[in-house]
Each structure stands twice: as structure tokens, then as C-alpha cells.
Amino acid sequence: MLRFAQLQLRDPHAAEDVVQEAIEAALVNAESFAHRSSLKTWVFAILKNKIVDHIRHRERVVTISSLIEDGGDWDQKLDELFVEGGFWKRESRPATWPDPEASMASTQFWAVFEICLDRLPEQTSRVFMMREFLGFESDEICDTLGLSTSNCHVILHRARMRLRQCLETGWGRLGE
């Protein structure tokens, strides 16, 4: 749980706080646990809500300049994937990945997945996790972090590009 919160908040103290709050909330509301889901799923759902609350109330700590720094050398690396006309270079053309369902059943896949998530630059990761992990709409992310819509989309695009690049190297081509 702590690791889960840490990935979202990138702040060890805040992560400990939300985990504690989530456990307290789970204990207080134990009778409302309806066994419709597994206990773990239920507790994580509570934790997720606590993290969302925390982010909504947090001051806008992300500055646009820190996000731009995040992407600095990345833009250049991005360009290197493509030839002049904007088409894939032969060696960087995305491969067909192995069957996703089978992959998600393998611990190997998740090990690589976590490494790749960890490797995202901090601010990029924050935006990406808000979108894909906590389920914020992109408009709300822009509002909460004080970013323009286009900035938001660029950051999400970079995050996905990077993540898939990392996954493909670490796992997607293992079967070849």
C-alpha cells in the first residue's frame, strides 16, 4: 500500500499519511465491506480515494518550468525515433507485443512494468498517474495542476511514449 501511495504522491510523508488514513477508514467502515469484492480490492479502493482527496487539496506544486525540464532531452530522443519526414526509423518501429492477457498473468511482466513506471521523470509521472491510475479526466488534471490543455496532452503523450519504449525494450521483444 505504501509503495502504491508513494508512486502517486512522490512524497514519503504524504504517502504514510494517506495509507494510515485509508487503514483507519477501512477499520471504521469494516461492517460496510460487503464481500462483493476481495478485501484487498476494497482496501485499495479506499486508498485510491484518499490519494485523490490528497491531490485535490494539495497546493499546485507543479510548475510549468519543472515540467518543461522534465521533457528537455526527451524531445530530442523523441525526434531520434523518426526519420526526417516523421516516419518511424526501421529499428524503432513498434513491434507486435505478445498477447496482453497472458502477459498480465505473468509476474515478469509486472516486474518490468513497475521498473518502467518508476523510470518516468517525476512530474511527467505525476500527470500520467493522475490520469491512468487515479482516473482523473484530463481537464481536471490541467485545472488542478494549473496547466494548459495542450501542455497536459503533450505530457501525457510523452509519458506513454516513454513507457511503451521501456516496456518494448524490457519485455515486448523478449519473445522474439
Partner: protein, 94 residues
Amino acid sequence: MIMLNCEQVTVLCSDELDRRLPVTDRVALRLHMMMCKGCSNYRAQLGVIRAAMRRYAEGGASTIEDEDGTRPWPTQRFSPDPNYSFAARPALAG
């Protein structure tokens, strides 16, 4: 009809996950997908990432084990390379 290059298509593949694309973009995207395997793979991969994130967010990832004890993938370790470069990607033996 606007023809898009792969770089522009990757941007749209991301955008379509966050907002509804204008119809011209959707048509251009579809046209490009018909003739570009790399971008079709890219789009499918973003779908896998989204599905994986959803699974991960449910807290399911860490407990997932291979049910029949077999590993669908080679048990090769993935070691992060600090000098990782997108231009010169390390070739992994399969």
C-alpha cells in the same frame, strides 16, 4: 484529406485516450493505420498500457502469479541500463 506522418499519429493515438478527436483527425488516423504496421502496433500498445494500468490500480498486479506454474515468457531478467538511450536500444537476445 490530410496525410499524417507517424510522429503526428503517435500524438493523436495518445490524445484519443483523453479526449474525443475531431472527425477529420479520426479519419486521418484510420487511413494511416490501414497502411502503417508500426503505428497500428503503437496504438495497440497504448491500449495494453491502459489495460495494465487499470489492473495495476486495482491492486491486482503484485499478487498475480502464473496459475499453472508455467511462465509464458522467458525468465530473462530485465536490468535497467542507466545509460539507456532511445537511439541505440540494447538488443535483447530472445
